[in-house]
């Protein structure tokens, strides 16, 4: 953890997200490490994000701290709200991944409304916790959340599926603030996250990196290369969440290519393993609250046992039929009714 600062750079404080600027400081570059704040809330590259939702000039952007208080009922409602928003976005575009998004809804809700340390007004704040959507095909579940938290205006959602839109079927870090890395090709993001966790350690920052992977995604060998590296380097600041819904695109993973026994596989690769019901927000909350200290010696794999299509009966029954599809207007009305009824019930019930 002892990076030597070789030389200082006039003027601009080069932040950890900044792209090398070369001439601007005579070729001398230093990392800004923990504790230093940088001046502008900005983007990943030369061409900045197209908008910067929450930041207001003058006032320092607010930090959403880890472990924010929230009731289980609120989280469950939030998860169902994510489902409803997803149904809308998919209808707008004409095709989408329903059941895959539904299995992650409680995970999204818990991470973004309770667990992660974020600064929506400064999306590239170097000390934010990172979240990588390995199973990038469920970005529809993330877009409404990021809009709600103020990363960008809600109007952006209306662009979903159109040429030029910053929010798309898969997330692109060059286009949408709040996206820590692009995804779409399964199996890459645990490697990317391992790199981010190593980066945290090297720059002395205490952010955590969370990577959500599909269970089918674990069939990619690159995931095991990354798992091996994270285990080898004792990256206690890295958390893999497996959305273990038992299905990949065309059927049950147990039939297509089994990935079990998952706990044994991850522990043999040097990880601490937690198994949890991925729709039980209380259990998810507790699991994330009890994550070991970042400096601890083992990456943590949270195996979230989920149901693909959870929250909509007909999808739970035929998860692979709704991996990629489009509800007819009638079906959509039924689905919306089913979810909304549950939300109202929850709103009426005591916490």
């Amino acid at each position: 953890m002892s990076l030597r600062v070789s030389s200082d750079c006039d003027g601009a404080g080069l932040a950890d997200w900044s792209v090398p600027t070369g001439k601007s400081c005579a070729g001398k570059h230093r990392l800004v490490r923990a504790g230093k704040q940088h001046e502008r809330a900005s983007a990943h590259g030369d061409d900045s994000h197209q908008a910067n939702g929450g930041a207001t000039a003058g006032t320092p952007p607010a930090t959403l701290e880890r472990g924010r208080p929230v009731t289980d009922a609120e989280l469950l409602r939030r998860a169902d709200w994510i489902r409803l928003q997803t149904v809308e976005l998919i209808a707008q575009a004409g095709l989408g991944h329903y059941s895959s998004t539904f299995s992650s809804a409680e995970i999204f809700a818990t991470l973004y409304y309770h667990t992660l340390r974020l600064r929506p007004g400064e999306p590239d704040w170097p000390d934010r916790d990172r979240f990588l959507l390995g199973k990038g095909h469920v970005a529809t579940g993330l877009w409404p959340v990021l809009a709600d938290l103020g990363y960008y205006p809600k109007e952006w959602l209306k662009q979903f599926g159109k040429v030029g839109s910053p929010v798309n079927d898969h997330p692109n870090m060059k286009l949408a603030p709040g996206i820590d890395f692009s995804s779409g090709s399964l199996g890459h993001n645990l490697s990317v996250g391992t790199g981010m966790a190593l980066a945290a350690r090297l720059s002395g920052r205490d952010y955590r990196t969370f990577v959500l992977t599909g269970d089918g995604e674990l069939q990619e060998g690159q995931v095991w290369e990354a798992a091996m590296a994270a285990g080898h380097y004792n990256l206690g600041n890295l958390v893999a969440i497996v959305d273990a819904n038992g299905f990949s695109g065309s059927g049950p993973t147990s039939q297509a290519m089994t990935i079990e026994p998952l706990p044994e596989r991850f522990s043999a690769f040097g990880w601490a393993v937690r198994e949890v019901d991925g729709h039980d927000v209380a259990a998810l909350r507790r699991t994330f609250d009890a994550l070991p200290d970042s400096a601890s010696g083992q990456p943590v794999c949270v195996i979230a046992r989920t149901r693909k299509g959870h929250g909509v009966d007909m999808m739970e029954k035929q998860p692979q039929a709704w991996h990629l599809g489009l509800l007819t207007p009638d079906q959509q009305a039924d689905v919306v009714a089913e979810i909304s009824a549950r939300m109202e019930l929850a709103a009426g019930s005591p916490q």
Binding site: G94, V163, H170, G184, S248, T253, L326
Partner: protein
């Protein structure tokens, strides 16, 4: 705006449509009935092989989302006398497995076939990670591999049949949801480009979805602009039809290539290289994807955006003919 939505070419929902839009799935079932060495493999893409799986359940091997393994494993089967057809999404089948294809299949001259569904921008809506727009450039590097890009369903049948017995690897690049070009199953001669229309003013050569555009554009050019186009189906990218390029380019002096691929390394490069090596002073243009960050959207919108439409092809052909907008 209906046609502007994403066409579902591989989910279970509408099995009838899916199968009609799935000629490579149809063809392999037919071929496998004749040749019991044929097996099929997919990395979580069993939907496109529903018919085959019903007919030959034990000859279908699901390999999970593990593309590199599927290529090397197929090579192992090929070394034991099987003829494996790997069905994959083109971006993950070629780009992700370039080394396995070269080292295990191509260098060893093994009859591994890669059927690349959803090539080019066909997965536009899914984002750039799902684009296969440099696959021809990569496949073309492999000395023993045949590369074909059928124009429509009938060409898929023809090219899958006629390449089935080749001793080396074959890459079959499937363009999705193309308009029909051939009324019946055409005959291809190995490495040769069918001449679909004879003309003298400009050469139009395309592969995959580019063929339909060329044919339709030629009609418009003739009917509305009095321009006579020489049209080729460049279905074979390796080996390619050098004689056809030279003959037509010499005749017209103007060549427009049309392809759902970046402008480097594909048909555009093949034609340019051929023209250069033959010292032909010819005007060249490409209807292809630019060498820069690509947009995301449903395929129809993207094709519009990049001029891969009949109108786009007509416009470029007219520029060529009228000597405008040259680089």
């Amino acid at each position: 705006m209906a046609e502007r939505k994403m066409v579902d070419v591989f989910s279970d929902i509408d099995r009838d449509t899916a199968l009609k839009a799935n000629p490579s799935g149809y063809a392999i079932t037919e071929l496998a009935a004749e040749d019991e060495r044929i097996v099929t493999l997919t990395a979580d893409l069993s939907n496109v092989l529903a018919e085959f799986r019903a007919a030959f359940p034990e000859r279908y091997i699901e390999l999970g989302i593990a593309e590199t393994n599927s290529v090397s494993l197929a090579a192992g089967m090929a070394a034991c006398g099987f003829v494996p057809y790997i069905y994959s999404m083109a971006p993950f089948g070629v780009l992700k497995c370039a080394e396995q294809l070269r080292t295990d299949a191509d260098y060893n001259h093994l009859p591994v076939r890669l059927v690349g569904r959803l090539s080019g921008l066909a997965m536009g809506y899914f984002g750039t990670s799902h684009y296969a727009v440099e696959d021809i450039a990569i496949a073309r590097m492999m000395a023993n591999t045949t590369v074909v890009a059928p124009a429509d369903s009938n060409s898929v049948l023809s090219l899958m049949r006629s390449t089935a017995d080749l001793p080396g690897p074959v890459y079959i690049r499937i363009a999705e949801a193309t308009d029909p070009v051939y009324d019946e199953v055409p005959e291809f001669s190995y490495g040769q480009w069918p001449r679909l229309r004879e003309g003298t003013d400009v050469t139009l050569a395309g592969h995959g979805m580019g063929v339909g555009l060329a044919v339709q554009a030629a009609r418009v050019l003739h009917d509305q602009h009095g321009v006579s186009a020489d049209v080729y189906d460049a279905a074979y990218l390796k080996p390619y039809d050098e004689a056809a390029i030279v003959a037509s380019a010499s005749r017209t002096g103007k060549v427009l290539t049309i392809e759902d691929h970046i402008e480097i390394g594909g048909l555009g490069s093949i034609v340019a290289e051929t023209v250069a090596r033959h010292k032909l002073a010819v005007d060249l243009k490409q209807a292809a994807l630019p060498d820069k960050d690509l947009e995301v959207g449903v395929p129809a919108e993207l094709y519009e955006f990049y001029g891969l439409t009949v109108a786009g092809v007509v416009a470029r052909a007219l520029e060529l003919v009228r000597g405008k907008g040259e680089n």
